[in-house]
Symmetry: C2
Subunit: 228 residues, 2 copies
Amino acid sequence: MSLKRTLHHFPLDPASRQVRLALGEKRLAFTEVQVRYWERPKDLTAMNPSGLLPVLVEEDGDDRLVICESRAILDHLEETSPEPPLLGRDAAERAEARRLMQWFDRKFDFEAGGYILHEKMEKRLLGMGAPDLANLRQGRDGLRSHMFYIEKLLQEREWLAGRKLSLADFAAAAHLSLIDYFGDMPWSGSPAVKTWYMKLKSRPCFRPLLLDRWPGLTPAKHYDDLDF
Amino acid sequence: MSLKRTLHHFPLDPASRQVRLALGEKRLAFTEVQVRYWERPKDLTAMNPSGLLPVLVEEDGDDRLVICESRAILDHLEETSPEPPLLGRDAAERAEARRLMQWFDRKFDFEAGGYILHEKMEKRLLGMGAPDLANLRQGRDGLRSHMFYIEKLLQEREWLAGRKLSLADFAAAAHLSLIDYFGDMPWSGSPAVKTWYMKLKSRPCFRPLLLDRWPGLTPAKHYDDLDF
């Protein structure tokens, strides 16, 4: 078996982070290529016409498989490297994990994370000037509602989708860790979310994310602090 | 086996349509409950806190499984009722089908379908007045770019993800059929897409969608015409 994996990603992209966490948890080695997706490089659109990250390339001798979009990559890894399972073992656990993946990738991103990352990150990367404060407020208001919901879930559960760590935790952590990078996480009102995030932060799969830095985008002081 | 399925859905919702097509293609019987999601009924948010459709409920004696969000339902059906398979048989076919599912549910919806359905459908349902013509134009411009891409794919392939009908076709057809309902599909410049859509329209799983009508929302004349 000489399968070689290459992940094309951007360190501060929520979708890319989910795949890095899954690869790490499954202990699958990979080479990384960091992509400045906002410049729409031709190498990227040739692999993925949507221009979105991440893209995973698996090469085995002459065979080459290009897998685009985070959900497709996560499903592929679950099918081809099932241990440890990250989707729950029975239908109810799987349904709950998948419901929450959708929650974070669509609803959370749309109502909270997307505003904050656009104003604090993408505008900087694109040279679009200062954040729009009304947008930022909208994102922070959305974030507060979401934190209320996540806190309620985690007061009753060890992990987001139930008793086991799952892709739902990675989806949530991918989005929240970036908001934390930019110093916007309201930790003080959410003790259960904080405990859950400390557990995640301590896992080996999380280490590479805590080391991420990007020129011109300085993380909050506590970003890589395991005891924040 | 006395499994009873109930699908909570809205007939003109793209996510609901994908699940109805999959249930139909797999010949799985279900009871339907039509939900006026824009009124945010409590029955719906009690099942799915996101307030989104569709929701599938499976009851087997005292066991009750509630599955929320289209992708979770489609994955569940593929796992529990694998015949006929709708995700391709090898890793490359599956990756391609999943890439395109994401394409339609995010990129297409965001750049084209979302504008058109919001202006022509949701505003009517919500009593928000006449369509905004600038938004409508934006959606139609996006639609033209997407049709160019889909046409190119279908000139080289029998089905969207390759040689077999897959969930990618249902994702595309769910979105495009609704734009067709509102008379906005630019069929004339896309002969391969038109041929593909005629094949889909003729399948038994598509019949219920062609019969959909909603008070106050009259479909285009050719909407249910198999030879349009």
